[in-house]
């Protein structure tokens, strides 16, 4: 945060020479446009083809994964290579709860809540690790979670099991329910992250992102903020895992606990723009497009994903959206504060100062 220490010109007595702006015209329009967009998407299953509905469900899950991983990496400064742990545990919890007699969709939600509860004590010591230690430490947690799930006789090791409880719905119904669940989860989680970032916690998180030591020195409760973001991100990824299970029905631990999920999250966030609100959504759309066109290329496709992620990290570390923001100062979902001088409101380009 860099609030100007002195006002640009002498201010009238009792009135600061600058105002704080939280919405730009574009971002207000854009946030407003989200409502009709969600309404149209909500009606999707009524007029879209089955295949399209399935693909959109997949897209929603990708958006959730990207936004959740970005919340942790982009705002709390924690790169996790083990987020597949929450994805897999979310699906596993759903299998377990459904086996205990709960309906599949309540099991999905409750499963994610349980994973979030597990994430609280996990945060207690994982967040003490820094940088690369946290990254691989999470990977170890994911590997351990995978092995422990394999021990469960219900899962039958790598053979896996199926969500038989989903058979109580006809295929068309199930497709629509899962679509709506994914849409609601995506909208809810994106909204939660957006509101969180605009709140005091968000300011703290963005201070941590910019300079952790400086944030500590001005009294930001770094660990508490990181814990909140960590648990939210665990919850979101668990929800995504459950949703993926609802679309694919079969649960094989190897698939759900694969590090490939984290590779996808990293690709989406790096390409879209780490540490921005819009970036991961853009990244998810791009990843979805790339997968649709080249996903059938098999191993060459995976090589390409890794290479592109690496090149973005090295040459465009702020991603596409970061570059757009830098070039045009464009904000569709503004979570930050803008300080602008009162006198010079006619020429915003010179007087507007972005803080976040």
């Amino acid at each position: 945060m860099s609030l100007p220490m002195s006002s640009p010109s002498p201010a009238p007595v009792g009135q600061p020479a600058w105002t704080i702006q939280r919405w730009t015209r574009t971002s207000a329009v854009c946030a407003g446009a989200a409502v009709p967009l969600l309404a149209v998407l909500f009606l999707g299953p009524l007029w879209l083809q089955a295949g399209t509905v399935d693909r959109l469900t997949t897209l929603f899950i990708y958006v959730i994964l990207a936004v959740m991983w970005n919340a942790l990496a982009g705002y709390a400064g924690l790169v996790s290579i083990g987020h597949q742990a929450f994805f897999g545990l979310g699906a596993y919890a759903m299998v377990r709860l459904a086996d205990a007699g709960l309906g599949p969709y309540p099991a999905l939600l409750l499963g994610a809540v349980l994973v979030a509860l597990v994430a609280v004590p996990l945060a207690a010591f994982m967040l003490r690790l820094q940088g690369g230690e946290f990254a691989i430490g999470m990977w170890v947690v994911a590997a351990l979670a995978h092995l422990c799930v394999n021990l469960d006789s219900l899962v039958q090791g790598e053979t896996g099991t199926s969500m038989i409880a989903l058979q109580q719905y006809a295929a068309g119904e199930r497709r629509a329910y899962t679509y709506w669940a994914a849409l609601a989860a995506m909208a809810g989680l994106c909204g939660a992250v957006f509101l969180l970032l605009r709140s005091k916690v968000g300011t703290a998180a963005q201070a941590i992102r910019d300079n952790e030591t400086a944030a500590i020195s001005i009294g930001v409760r770094v660990v508490a903020v990181k814990r909140l973001v960590f648990v939210l991100s665990a919850f979101g990824c668990a929800l995504a895992g459950g949703l993926w299970l609802a679309t694919s029905i079969s649960f094989q631990p190897k698939t759900y606990f694969s590090v490939q999920w984290t590779a996808y999250m990293i690709f989406m966030v790096l390409v879209g723009g780490i540490g921005t609100m819009e970036g991961p959504i853009l990244g998810a759309l791009l990843f979805f497009a790339v997968e649709t066109w080249w996903g059938g290329q098999g191993v060459a496709y995976l090589i390409g994903l890794g290479a592109v992620a690496m090149l973005f990290a090295l040459f465009l570390p702020k991603g596409i959206w970061g570059a757009v923001q830098q070039r045009w100062d464009l904000h569709l979902l503004s979570a930050g504060y803008r300080v602008r001088a009162r006198e010079a409101q006619s020429s915003p380009a010179d007087s507007t100062r972005r803080c976040v």
Binding site: V79, G132, I136, L270, A309, P317
Partner: protein, 299 residues
């Protein structure tokens, strides 16, 4: 006696982990970079050795002599192209870039060599299974014992190099404070590139040891990275002798775990790693301050 046997076998396995981990520890100590492609690079070395030894019929030792400089060169290139640039861009970028690199390496290996598991065991004749018998019916494999001795030698050599040679002094100076080191005439870029090349030499030796004493496939890299990382953290990051201890603790824990349950090998390793991490945090009082963040700002 079985317990003693498992501990001895774990000790020998720990030698391999120490060999694998010393490069990771060295690079972290010198450049503060954790290279997520570490395991995958060890597997690259294993494949290069296999390629020379199996289809081309070279003697494994000759193959190793050819692969070592090639991997050292690769380390130098890797530093110039990826590590140097990413380290300048912040603490997170090296992780992201090397993770992308690991994914590229694993999938390229898969594309070229397929999913078959490979091993160099056939190329080294009876050494693959020769062993010494200790009193009490405990067998000590000659190859694992050699790997352990070799790991100790290598760690000692690295230590001596850092402590007593001109390059070692430059590396220590550059890692302590790169800007000041530059002021007094150390070419930090070249020094770090040399350190990367040295790291790759250790990675190659680890890859050779993996290829000779076990099997590997294109996706073995991440698992090796996790083992190496666990050894480094258990032993205390940045300390070379700690790495040896960490490798041994990990190997013993895994072997004892395997006695309890068929899946216990990996579970015991991961659980030991997390338990030691937890114990260390408890000892430092970090957990207490974590739970009291509600009332007071963290220090």
């Amino acid at each position: 006696m079985n317990l003693l046997n498992q501990i001895i076998q774990g000790l020998l396995l720990g030698g391999y982990y120490a060999l694998l981990a010393c490069g990771l520890s060295f690079m972290f100590g010198v450049m503060r970079i954790i290279n997520l492609a570490h395991g995958s690079l060890a597997v690259v070395a294993a494949y290069l050795l296999w390629l020379l030894a199996e289809p081309m019929g070279w003697h494994p030792l000759l193959a190793l002599l050819a692969v070592l400089p090639a991997m050292a060169l690769l380390g130098w290139v890797l530093h110039r192209l990826v590590l140097e640039r990413s380290a300048r861009l912040g603490a997170l970028v090296p992780l992201l870039a090397t993770f992308g690199l690991a994914s590229v390496i694993d999938n390229l290996l898969f594309q070229h060599f397929g999913a078959d598991t490979r091993s160099l065991a056939t190329a080294i004749g009876t050494l693959a299974y020769d062993s010494w018998e200790l009193p009490g019916g405990i067998y000590v494999g000659q190859l694992p014992a050699m790997v352990l001795v070799f790991a100790v030698t290598l760690l000692g050599g690295l230590h001596a190099m850092l402590a007593h040679t001109a390059l070692g002094r430059q590396i220590r100076a550059a890692s302590e404070d790169a800007d000041t080191a530059r002021l007094v005439g150390v070419h930090t870029g070249a020094v770090f590139a040399a350190a990367s090349a040295i790291t790759m030499v250790t990675v190659t030796l680890a890859g050779a040891s993996l290829a000779m004493r076990a099997t590997f496939d294109p996706f073995s890299g991440p698992q090796q990275l996790i083992f190496a990382f666990e050894a480094v953290i258990i032993g205390g990051a940045g300390s070379l002798w700690g790495t040896l201890l960490g490798g041994v603790v990990l190997g013993v824990a895994q072997n004892l775990g395997a006695q309890v349950h068929p899946q216990g090998f990996l579970i015991a390793g991961h659980a030991t790693f997390l338990a030691i991490l937890l114990a260390r945090l408890c000892a430092s009082g970090a957990l207490r301050s974590f739970f009291s963040t509600r009332r007071q700002p963290t220090p």
